[in-house]
Amino acid sequence: MERLDRRSFIKLSGGVITTAMGGMAGILASGRAPAHAQVTTLHWLRWNDFVPASDQLLRKEITAECEKALGVKLNVETINANDIQARVTSAIQSGSGPDIVCVLNNWAQLYGESLVDVSDIADEIGKAQGGFYETSRAVANDGKKWIALPWSIVGLQIAYRKSWFAEIGYTDGKFPQTWQEYRDAGKKLKAKNRPIGQTLGHTFGDAPAFAYPYLWSWGGKEVEADGKTVVLNSPATVESVKFMVAFWKDAHDEGGLAWDDTNNNRAFLSGTCCATLNGASIYIEALRKPESYMTETGAHLKDDILHAPLPQGQGGQFSYHVPFSNMLMSYSKNRDLGKKFLRWIHSREVFDKWFVSQKGFSVGPTTEWEKHKLWNDDPIMLPYKQAARTGRFAGYEGPSTRKAAEVVTKYIIIDMYAKAVQGIPAEEAVKWAHNELVKIYTA
């Protein structure tokens, strides 16, 4: 063993202390933590997914991979979708909050001035993945630039009970093709205590996804193509409202006026409604817990569910699917990292994992995801595959601007129908909604 005398020991320990002190001084001077403690946290706010497995995937696997790939600690926070706007508003006004927020509908248009331009990433992803759907573009592009990055689209289709519709003549999985047929079918089923379940309440997804395409299918629209001239008060709209009043009374569960996006899931799964416009979450839940959801004959409910698009009216057949987009907040101190993260999470390889976990509840923001092998797994989910292609968006026939977003957020189109259902004459309900739109579009 080598002998260590007193002088050498002092020299050596002095060196160690100097090194340590130098390091500490260096850290203090640079104002930065040493590399091993420099893991930046990126805060991503999202909704509580109707497919819980996807939230689990993001929190565990994707978070771990993100740290490995980008050196970023991902903090995925999920809240009720109806509360996201409150969080965004307070974050923007206080200049602090989540770095990235995943919003629904065309909400991003409300916050355009407070968002980072993500056109570079959007162009890249759009090009690489077959091009964005019109719905994705309408809600995340303000006409000049991409203010958010389209993440996904929750396809909306009518989930219906195959056996119950067969009992009234719609055998072999057939479904009413027109509103009149749907009303007649609903009337027969309501007489058997199996009404149609539909919300006309103040809720983010199912309510606008029903009211807007219903309006369009009668030939009604909010504004002209100039995006300024309000034309809601038209014979077509009035007719649509009149039909809705009778349709509601004849065929619907009248409690639907107070439903949120979860009520129809519960009603369908408990066998109290025959059909409801919804994402695929009802079917996915029935599939996930087959023993929990049974029909009155003791069969698995999952085997008695089919999907169909909304019926057509005199103006055509339309749909409104709920798009999601990621907004990178301009107050964020991690803007560059945020972009890096968005590029990574939207990349084909990473997004694929999340897409698969959705089991078809969400389609991709671009057309490429229609080709995914997931669609070969379950024919019941096939109607969702290309659903986003027929989607129009709020603000039609104009662009889906901030004003269109304001109309959605104030639930004006939904309330127009709800007011009439509550007993206000159709003409008055339409006039009220028209005036509200005029106030917004001329402000």
């Binding site: 409690g255 107070a258 009603a267 007011k419 106030k439």
Partner: protein, 310 residues
């Protein structure tokens, strides 16, 4: 040594100066008053002034906005939803206050009697007030659920109804539902506050009145009620302010629906300001509450002062 003396003497001199200053009542009053002023200034006055400034601009979320004078208030004047919200707020506050006062007083008089298990009963009475509003309102939401209402189920089983009652889907029933929950939640506050007031009334006064031949109702009306009135007025004042500005109960139970039928000032301000991002219009709606509340407060405080003077 001299330096050390100077260093230790300086704080001592300062302390003596502060003590002398505080011996003067005016300075002492100021010192005692200051924390309250700071707290009120920070948490009441500052947001209020900010609200006023916001209401006279066209600010949107993320956009500072320009001065627009009273434009936002003019818009409200022509806003049918705002008019509904104003009517609802007055109706909601009026009806709930009457019921809360009547039921609270009745409960307080009962609880003021001696009976077995008095302490535990008083504790239970407070439960609705103790449970966080959002939590208890969610429970009520389930009870009023259009499909799974336990109230409907009970009424059906008892043979009192044959169809379903759509508690939250019908505009009138939705308002009644909201009122019921507010009364349920508010009665304990009245009961316990009035009970405290009842216990300050000397029992000898009741006994003297009884000896003089006063009946229970006369004893209540001529002895208890006049002595309880100042406390009652303060309780009503607090309750009116809270109810008028209520938010969470309606937000959770109906979200202002169906078709805006149950919006109050606060929930409509939230929908416009936070939902649609029109901060200035939202602030104007909130501010529209202020004159009403101010009048209520002034009238009640004047009344309380008159009662106390008499």
């Amino acid at each position: 040594m001299a330096l050390a003396y100077v260093q230790t003497a300086a704080p001592a001199v300062r302390r003596a100066f502060v003590s002398r200053l505080l011996e003067d009542e005016r300075w002492l009053a100021l010192a005692l008053f200051l924390p309250t002023v700071v707290i009120l200034g920070l948490f009441i006055a500052y947001p209020f002034v900010e609200g006023v400034l916001l209401a006279v601009t066209d600010a949107k979320v993320g956009v500072p906005g320009h001065f627009v004078g009273l434009n936002n208030f003019e818009k409200l004047w022509n806003d049918s939803i705002f008019r509904t919200a104003v009517w609802n707020t007055f109706w909601y506050t009026g009806v709930t206050t009457v019921f809360k006062l009547a039921l609270g007083l009745w409960l307080a008089l009962l609880l003021n009697r001696h009976f077995k298990g008095k302490a535990i009963t008083r504790a239970f009475v407070l439960l609705p007030f103790i449970i966080p509003t959002v939590l208890s309102t969610f429970a009520w939401k389930w009870m009023f659920d259009p499909t799974f209402s336990v109230i409907n189920w009970t009424l059906y089983r008892l043979g009192l109804i044959h169809g379903r009652i759509n508690w939250l889907s019908d505009p009138d029933l939705a308002m009644i539902s909201v009122i019921i929950v507010n009364i349920w939640r508010g009665v304990p506050f009245y009961a316990i506050s009035l009970l405290a007031g009842l216990q300050t009334i000397n029992p000898e006064l009741q006994e003297a009145a009884a000896i003089d031949g006063a009946r229970p109702w006369q004893r209540f009306w001529h002895v208890t009620w006049p002595l309880l009135l100042p406390v009652t007025m303060v309780v009503v004042l607090f309750s009116v302010i809270q109810t008028f500005a209520d938010f969470q109960l309606v937000y959770v139970l109906t979200g202002g629906g169906p078709a805006n039928a149950t919006h109050l000032f606060a929930t409509y301000a939230y929908q416009v300001g936070i939902g649609a991002g029109l901060l200035s219009e939202g602030a104007a709606i909130s501010l529209a509450m202020f004159p009403v509340l101010l009048i209520v407060v002034v009238i009640q405080l004047l009344y309380i002062r008159r009662v106390e003077t008499h």
